[in-house]
């Protein structure tokens, strides 16, 4: 039991250290911008991974929740003059309720049918956003004001960076606690066998619904903040392509891995920026990288690499392993 807690904290400390040290190499606003985008994507992906990786329920409509959160903030602050924090919370509550209502019937479905139902939900949301142009600005998008907390406005990239960094840590911490709670264990039981889990007295429907609502709420919160950060939002953020991007980040980073979601978000946000030097071949190389990852690291980056490290550790002399483990302060799992 104790080593679980310690390994959990080590990950969190490592992430905090990365976030704290990163500004040393972020030499201008552009690098900050990319780092902030990674943060937003990571928060959504952690939520999505709780649903996909741990509970084993697919959602192809998460961009819809992200978009709803974004538009709730845009409209409530822009048209009705709500304070940004209240608008964001209202957006999250609204999206949570929607996920609750829609999730009840949808989550009864399984496999492809569930994928189709969530896909449909996402498309309906995106259609509503495109067509309610009086409110949403239609396909051309809508301007969003700056974000402020208790009169303290987040104006520059640096402020946003620390804010999102903190929020990401909070998200990771909350999610880890959730996974190590009875609820998390119930979810994993559900994932391996729903019938088995039910036989063990787990209320499958309720658990799936709860995690669906939580995951949607994460997406809505990230959407709200991303809208304020961008200052401009278009319906594309609520569209199907964005949903697929999010699922790809989760799968590439590694299912059922909090840090996998973070790494997946980081890799897929960074790669298109790095690959711009290839001009016309950008998409080809991006596709090849993703295919290679899936072929050689089928469980996603983080779980596959972790398994690889585990295997290499067995090849090293035990004394060296012990010394290394003492160095990183981690004991071998019993």
């Amino acid at each position: 039991m104790s080593h679980y807690r310690s390994s959990r904290h080590h990950g969190l400390i490592a992430l905090a250290a990365i976030i704290a040290l990163l500004p040393l190499v972020l030499s201008n606003k552009y690098f900050y911008d990319v780092a902030i985008l990674i943060g937003f994507n990571a928060i959504v992906c952690i939520g999505l991974n709780l649903l996909i990786g741990y509970a084993g329920q697919i959602s192809l409509g998460h961009a819809g929740f992200f978009g709803l959160g974004a538009y709730a903030s845009a409209i409530l602050t822009g048209n009705y003059g709500w304070p940004p924090v209240i608008a964001a919370l209202a957006g999250m509550a609204g999206v949570g309720s929607l996920a609750f209502l829609a999730g009840r019937p949808i989550l009864k479905l399984k496999g492809h049918y569930l994928a189709m139902a969530t896909l449909g939900l996402g498309i309906i949301i995106s259609l509503v956003i495109v067509n309610q142009d009086r409110l949403t600005g239609g396909p051309d998008g809508i301007t969003v004001g700056p974000f402020s907390v208790l009169g303290f406005a987040l104006e520059n990239e640096r402020a946003w960076y620390w804010f999102i960094g903190g929020l990401l840590l909070l998200t990771v911490w909350l999610s880890q606690n959730l996974i190590d709670s009875p609820m998390g264990r119930a979810l994993r039981a559900l994932h391996s066998s729903e019938v088995g889990a039910q036989a063990a007295g787990i209320n499958a429907a309720a658990h799936k619904l709860q995690i669906f609502v939580l995951s949607a709420t994460f997406a809505a919160g990230a959407g709200s903040l991303a809208a304020h950060y961008s200052g401009f939002i278009t319906p594309a953020k609520a569209g199907f392509i964005h949903s697929v991007e999010l699922v790809t980040m989760v799968v590439l980073g590694g299912m059922a891995s909090i840090y996998g979601a973070v790494v997946g978000a980081a890799v897929l946000t960074l790669l298109p920026q790095i690959l711009t030097v290839l001009k016309d071949y950008e998409m080809v190389v991006l596709g090849a990288v993703m295919m290679a990852t899936m072929i050689f690291l089928p469980r996603g980056l983080v779980p596959s690499l972790a398994a690889l490290c585990e295997r290499w550790r067995d090849l090293l002399p035990p004394s060296l392993v012990l010394r290394l483990e003492a160095l990183i302060g981690r004991g071998r799992k019993p």
Partner: protein
């Protein structure tokens, strides 16, 4: 001995200096290229905009350089593909400003991607010439933001002026659900009263619809409809045109500049006969009278583009041409690449003849086009003909 040593060391020193010299002398200002930054929707749903825009920029930057560049310096294009995503556009605009340190930005294929980059250009104080259509880009006027394409409001106005000339005032609207369609429909509704046009019917269709007979029947049965306007983009307008003919509606049909291409006539076939639409003069470049001041620019651009890329010229590429040339002219006039001076020179542009029309900018107008930029065309014998 000591002398030989010293001469040898001297020789080494000189050799070293000769090697090092380029490193010291190269980055003098006169040699450094002028960086033109651009983010365009080269792939994705808006690639029909970004692709000709990028080709045009590349081709003309090469030409300007071959002719000696600007202010004795070469131009260098730094371009990124935003795939029509506003968030990517914002990141790339940040990259152009912060990382690549470009002198001017010519880009932004869609209204969304432009609007996402506007706050950055304003904050960084860098001249930004957008290639997107909507009025919101320049209204209200933003200090550092300009645009080259005509607006959809002007397309509405051009149609309304033509309606007035034909003494028609009761108009039926049928529009699609895309961004272009919605934006133009809204602008038409807004300016209609100014031209004493009554919108008596206002129907819409979905993006993938394959039959608009129902909507058109409703318009046909609306009392007093004297003409129909279809602000639309893509396949929809061709279907509307066909259904219009099939239903035997006899009032004039107007399409928008959104379908101003040969493709439309191909799709609509015989039904397109008699259809009118406002369009950039680029479409009928060769048919313009010799006296037309715009002809020379248009024919030159059209022939260069079609000669090099073996595909039909589009007005979108023309917008990129105008944007680049406006920037080049402004830098020449300003005599430097100082951002504030270039901005002032851009705002003071007068009488520049581009593919979109005559550009006369001012402090209140960062587009500078008037209704003469649009020509009223009619389909006759399967081709576009200028309406006199």
């Amino acid at each position: 001995m000591s002398q030989t040593l010293s001469t040898r060391s001297l020789r080494w020193c000189l050799a070293g200096l000769a090697l090092a010299a380029p490193w010291f002398s190269a980055p003098t200002l006169a040699q450094e290229p002028i960086k033109i930054g651009s983010f365009l929707s080269v792939t994705g749903p808006a690639s029909f905009l970004g692709d000709p825009e990028l080709k045009t920029l590349e081709m003309y930057i090469e030409r300007v350089n071959a002719a000696g560049g600007v202010l004795g310096r070469k131009l260098q294009l730094v371009s990124y593909d935003d795939a029509g995503d506003a968030e990517k556009a914002r990141t790339f605009a940040t990259r152009l400003i912060e990382q690549d340190k470009v002198d001017v930005i010519v880009g932004g294929s869609t209204t969304g991607s432009t609007m996402a980059a506007v706050p950055l250009a304003e904050k960084a104080a860098i001249p930004f010439i957008s290639l997107a259509g909507a009025v919101v880009i320049i209204e209200p006027v933003k200090k550092w933001v300009f645009k080259t394409p005509h607006t959809d409001r002007m397309a509405c106005e051009k149609v309304f002026v033509d309606l007035q000339a034909r003494k028609l005032s009761k108009l039926g609207l049928i529009s699609g659900s895309g961004g272009f369609d919605k934006s133009m429909r809204a602008e038409c509704l807004k300016v209609a009263p100014k031209y004493q046009i009554d919108i008596v019917a206002d129907e819409t269709y979905g993006a993938g619809d394959t039959d608009m007979s129902a909507q058109l029947t409703k318009i046909k049965n609306t009392a007093g409809v004297q003409a129909v306007l279809n602000p639309g983009f893509g396949q929809g307008p061709a279907i509307v045109t066909k259904n219009f003919k099939q239903l035997g509606i006899t009032v004039p049909l107007y399409q928008s500049h959104g379908v101003a291409s040969k493709e439309f006539i191909k799709l609509a076939g015989d039904a397109a006969e008699g259809v009118r639409l406002p369009a950039s003069a680029l479409l009928v470049a060769e048919a313009l009278p010799e006296s037309d001041a715009q002809k020379k620019v248009l024919v030159s651009y059209k022939q260069s583009y079609e000669g090099k890329f073996k595909s039909d010229v589009s007005t979108f590429g023309g917008h990129a041409y105008d944007g680049l040339m406006l920037a080049v002219e402004a830098m020449k006039k300003a005599g430097s690449t100082d951002k504030a001076k270039v901005r002032d020179a851009l705002e003071a542009t007068k009488g520049y003849m581009g593919t979109a029309g005559v550009v006369n900018m001012s402090a209140n107008d960062h587009m500078g086009l008037d209704l003469t930029a649009f020509r009223m065309l009619e389909v006759k014998g399967g081709n576009w003909v200028l309406v006199k």
